[in-house]
């Protein structure tokens, strides 16, 4: 409601013969009007921009961030975002000449400086020990507390050495060697050692990873920068940003197209059933019940076989079809219920009396009035489609590795939630943002398209 001030001029009669009855403003169709109101809805516009952003991330992103999403780097597994690491250039690992290790002057010592390739420990034989167990800790030794990771045992009293190569990180470790008695039980004899580990990379590895243009460019002992990953890396050292961009293709496709299609099918089916009523309605709805009750997993396996999807081939299209075939009934039920309710409304009778035909009634009166619930169903189907895709891919029925998807990245991320949360947070964030955008858009659309809302303004 706008306010205006009136002047005396406003009350002058119009000159006779002027086109007083002509509509001066352009006539607006239903859709034009809806579009106008959608544009005025701030939330809807924000959501549109988010969706455009997501599409740009998916389609243009890979051209700007050209890292290969499938490229693994076992030295950078589960790296945090923006970790900047440097490594010292070194030679490939040489086997340890154990025979010439000599006896250390300390109870426990390093045979050579520890690197991320290897940590070689030697110790003085303990009296009475018939074997040794080696632990590696991230905390300094403290009596009573756990000694850390049990790396292994040496089974003979004379074997007073151990080589640790297990997932060595560039940090400080505290090694403990415990003497074992003849029953291989731990004795009170413990020696510990603080070991700083240097990150190293071999010349060949550096060249392979494109850090050096050729091996002769690097000098041994020199430090080189290993490159950063803005979103960190995953469980196989793959760049998370590149995987998110690649995964967006599958997830957005399935997450948007599948719900759209099955809601469409559901709306058509439900409105037919609701409008026809009677025996046809009964038959149609019993068929819907039938589809709901089919065991989902079993029929997904069957679809895969029926479509002849070979191993390792992408099954996005069959998966889409299967999702649509198995998911429409809930929407159909909902729409039918709404239509049954609306059918009895006065305006429907009025329209019928005015000679409106069936399709006009359904399309212009019934469906727009059920739009609210349809849009809710639609927006809620987005995350469930994304996660169904992930589940199906996990059991080998969706996209084949190494192609990622947000859902499957989430599934992997949940396992390492406590130690490297970024592997869960980033894909989950993208899914949430997508869902948010579609919910806001759904709200906006609902407000814009709802015929009853129009009369409020």
């Amino acid at each position: 409601m706008s306010e205006s001030t009136f002047s005396a001029d406003d009350f002058k009669p119009l000159p006779k013969g002027a086109a007083a009855e002509v509509i001066t403003r352009p006539s607006m169709s239903y859709w034009q009007d809806a579009w106008r109101r959608l544009k005025e809805n701030r939330r809807a516009i924000i959501s549109l921009w988010i969706i455009i952003g997501l599409l740009a991330f998916t389609l243009i992103g890979p051209y700007l961030w050209t890292v290969d999403h499938a490229k693994q780097n076992v030295d950078k597994i589960s790296e945090r975002p923006f970790t900047s690491t440097e490594a010292v250039l070194t030679t490939p690992l040489q086997p340890w000449d154990i025979g010439n290790r000599g006896t250390p002057s300390d109870p426990l010592a390093l045979a050579e400086p520890a690197t991320t390739q290897t940590a070689r420990l030697v110790w003085q034989a303990m009296p009475g020990a018939s074997a040794y167990r080696i632990y590696r800790n991230i905390f300094p030794y403290e009596p009573g507390a756990g000694l850390g990771l049990p790396l292994g045992e040496t089974l003979l009293p004379k074997d007073t050495y151990f080589e640790d190569r297990l997932d060595l990180q560039a940090k400080t470790y505290y090694y403990s060697v415990v003497g074992l008695d003849s029953q291989l039980r731990e004795t009170a004899q413990v020696v510990t050692l603080e070991v700083p580990v240097t990150r190293v990379i071999t010349l060949t590895e550096a060249t392979e990873r494109g850090l050096l243009s050729q091996a002769s460019d690097g000098k041994l002992g020199e430090k080189i920068h290993l490159g950063t990953h803005p979103f960190g890396t995953d469980y196989l050292g793959r760049d998370l940003l590149a995987r998110l961009m690649e995964g967006a293709r599958v997830s957005l496709f399935i997450g948007i197209v599948a719900p759209f299609l099955f809601v469409l099918v559901g709306v058509a089916y439900g409105s037919i059933a609701g409008f026809l009523g009677g025996a046809s309605d009964q038959v149609l709805m019993r068929f819907a019940d039938f589809v709901v009750a089919l065991p989902f997993l079993l029929f997904m396996i069957l679809f895969k076989i029926a479509f002849g999807i070979g191993p390792g081939e992408s099954g996005v299209m069959p998966m889409l079809l299967a999702l649509v075939l198995l998911s429409w009934p809930s929407t159909a039920r909902l729409v039918r219920g709404q239509i049954l309710q609306i059918r009895e409304e006065g305006y429907i009778n009025a329209a019928q009396l005015l000679g409106a035909n069936t399709s006009y009634l359904v399309l212009r009166h019934m469906i727009p009035n059920t739009l609210g619930v349809i849009l809710v169903t639609l927006t809620f189907a987005v995350p469930s489609a994304i996660f169904t895709e992930a589940f199906l891919s996990f059991i080998g029925m969706g996209v084949a590795p190494p192609t990622p998807s947000w859902g499957s990245m989430c599934n992997e991320g949940i396992k390492t939630m406590l130690t490297s949360p970024h592997e869960l947070i980033f894909p989950a964030l993208f899914i949430s943002v997508t869902v948010l955008a579609f919910n806001l858009l759904g709200d906006g659309l609902r407000d814009a398209l709802d015929s009853r809302m129009r009369s409020r303004e």
């Binding site: 693994q72 076992v74 049990p150 196989l236 390792g312 130690t419």
Partner: protein, 572 residues
């Protein structure tokens, strides 16, 4: 707008606010009612489920006052009929409630069980059953109980998957394939306490075999009385081991209580071993352990860091299984060419897989089909017959592959199908292999992830080029691994056939001389390496944590694992 003009806008607004307020209050009132109703309903439901019995009234992980420990099971035992059991969990539970002729002690040495002594000859064996051995109903355990159980195990009508393990006994195989009646089995009770076994062929490790759960006794009268439901419920099993099942609520709860009729009951210190939780979820197990609800849990690479930060006392062991990539050697498969396999071997470093990808202590890089813990002539087999090793050599592999492509007259190797299961570990590893072969040899690997039965069906029909496979030991002898690649072994899914390997497998099966047999295993190891019949990946390990108050738990590669029969609680 002037001050005194009727403010319709505001009126509408405030009317709406009033409406909202009273509607909101009404809503609050409904919410309150709902909460009360819900609380009542929950009390009712919990009372109802108590009635139905599907509860797991749990005590803490360590309950010193009741001398009880609580533990988690990865799944419920499908059933506890020892003649039918196949899985690890059933085996573990059976190890607590049943005892065979021989058993493994706390140092994993074979000791007398129900049999007080035995004599194993070239063509047969005799076991003398101790007088004090009793069933949980007080009946004595007799030789006839063993005869009944063993006949049942090979009876084709019983359809036991583990029937093959009795095949060293005379006529077992013929009975199992329906050619002879089950009464023809080479085992009989000469009197109540003497069991006489005749062998089909000489066997060097029969003593180790009879410690396996399929060889446990079953009382015939009780079995028949259970009316086809033997082993399905706590009441339909007769126990002769250290514990008996006092409560078994399916899917929910299994409770073992000390068996007073057990002949060596003095050895058993715990009164109750309780399993109130069944789930495969490893995080759930960890959470239960953190909460003090269970006394022991396994750890995986994902939650290891959390365990370290809590400064728990961790332990580890090799669980005995060997994992490898098997090639398909069938005629129509490209993987039957040795050059391709060799190239694939030369770029793969099991150490990288274990140390960087799997990242769990206890795992060992794979070198051979024979794991390191197997015993040889005097010491360990692998110490006496070191496995041949290879060094990663990418240029040589690439040259070999180029040569191979030239020989075959092809520019590009067609994509190779890698068959794998739907568990997270094998999914991760197959992705590692996919990238490895793409990056080094430009080979396309297609990962064919299949759920359990479909994977087995494809393994059997040979629809793969490569398959991620594993093998766990059935008995403590290298032969449990050694005959895996013989041409007649049905578990040789890639149909690898090498007459030389077959010959040495026969030697190992038939000889009684330790040295000859170990030599044969050494030969098999060399031949499989030479032929690149498989790519050993790793020997599996487990990292676990136990409550510091729990002592005496035993873990082992062969036999019931973990074993709590000797466990006891020590209050700090």
């Amino acid at each position: 707008m002037t001050e005194n003009a009727p403010n319709t806008e505001l009126d509408v607004q405030s009317a709406q606010d009033d409406f909202n307020r009273s509607a909101g209050l009404k809503l609050l009132w409904y919410a309150l009612l709902a909460v009360i109703g819900l609380a009542l309903l929950m009390v009712l439901l919990s009372w109802g489920s108590k009635k139905l019995g599907a509860t797991s009234d749990s005590s803490p992980g360590i309950d010193a006052t009741n001398n009880t420990i609580s533990l988690i099971l990865s799944q419920e035992p499908p059933q506890l009929d020892s003649t039918l059991a196949t899985d690890m969990v059933s085996n573990m539970v059976l190890g607590h409630v049943m005892e065979g002729l021989l058993r493994y002690d706390e140092n994993n040495a074979l000791v007398p069980g129900i049999a007080e002594r035995w004599d194993i000859r070239e063509n047969g064996a005799t076991f003398w059953i101790r007088d004090s051995a009793r069933w949980s109903n007080g009946d004595p355990v007799t030789a006839a109980d063993f005869v009944f159980a063993w006949r049942k195990s090979v009876d084709p009508a019983n359809a036991s998957e583990y029937a093959f393990i009795l095949f060293p006994i005379k006529n077992a195989e013929a009975i199992n394939t329906g050619k002879l009646p089950k009464e023809e089995l080479g085992v009989r009770a000469t009197d109540e306490r003497t069991l006489e076994v005749t062998f089909e062929r000489p066997i060097a490790f029969f003593d180790k075999l009879v410690a396996f759960s399929t060889f446990s006794p079953v009382q015939e009268a009780f079995y028949n009385q259970a009316n086809g439901r033997y082993g399905a419920d706590a009441e339909t099993i007769l126990y002769n081991g250290p514990f008996s099942i006092s409560r078994w609520v399916h899917g929910a709860h299994l409770r073992l209580e000390k068996n007073p009729y057990y002949w060596d009951a003095d050895r058993i210190k715990l009164d109750v071993i309780d399993f109130p939780y069944f789930t495969t979820d490893t995080n759930a197990a960890l959470n239960l352990f953190k909460d003090g609800s269970i006394a022991y849990t396994g750890l995986n690479a994902e939650n290891l860091q959390d365990a370290l930060n809590r400064r728990w006392h961790l332990d580890r062991l090799q669980d005995g299984s060997v994992f490898f990539m098997e090639f398909n050697h069938r005629e129509d498969r490209i993987t039957r060419h040795r050059k391709l396999r060799k190239a694939m071997q030369l770029v793969f470093d099991p150490k990288e897989l274990v140390y960087k990808v799997i990242k769990l202590p206890g795992f060992l890089p794979g070198e051979s089909i024979f794991p390191v813990w197997l015993r040889g002539v005097d010491g360990y087999l692998r110490a006496e017959y070191p496995a041949p090793v290879w060094e990663v050599d990418i240029p040589r592999a690439q040259a070999l592959l180029a040569e191979f492509k030239q020989e075959m007259g092809i520019d590009k190797i067609p994509p190779l199908m890698l068959l794998t299961g739907d568990n997270p570990a094998s999914a991760k590893q197959s992705e590692y292999f996919q990238a490895l072969y793409k990056q080094t040899l430009d080979l396309d690997i297609r990962i064919d992830k299949q759920i359990f039965k479909q994977r087995l069906a494809k393994m059997t029909s040979g629809e793969f080029d490569l398959v991620m496979a594993g093998w766990g030991p059935d008995f403590d002898d290298p032969l449990t691994f050694g005959d895996l690649f013989s041409s007649w072994n049905l578990n040789n899914r890639g149909r690898y056939a090498n007459p030389e390997v077959d010959r040495w497998v026969r030697v190992a099966q038939e000889s009684l001389d330790a040295k000859t047999r170990m030599d044969a295993f050494g030969k098999i190891q060399d031949l499989l390496f030479e032929d690149v019949a498989l790519l050993p990946q790793y020997e599996r390990g487990v990292v676990f944590v136990t409550d510091p108050r729990l002592h005496g738990m035993v873990r082992r590669a062969v036999g019931p694992d973990p074993d709590f029969t000797n466990a006891y609680i020590v209050e700090p």
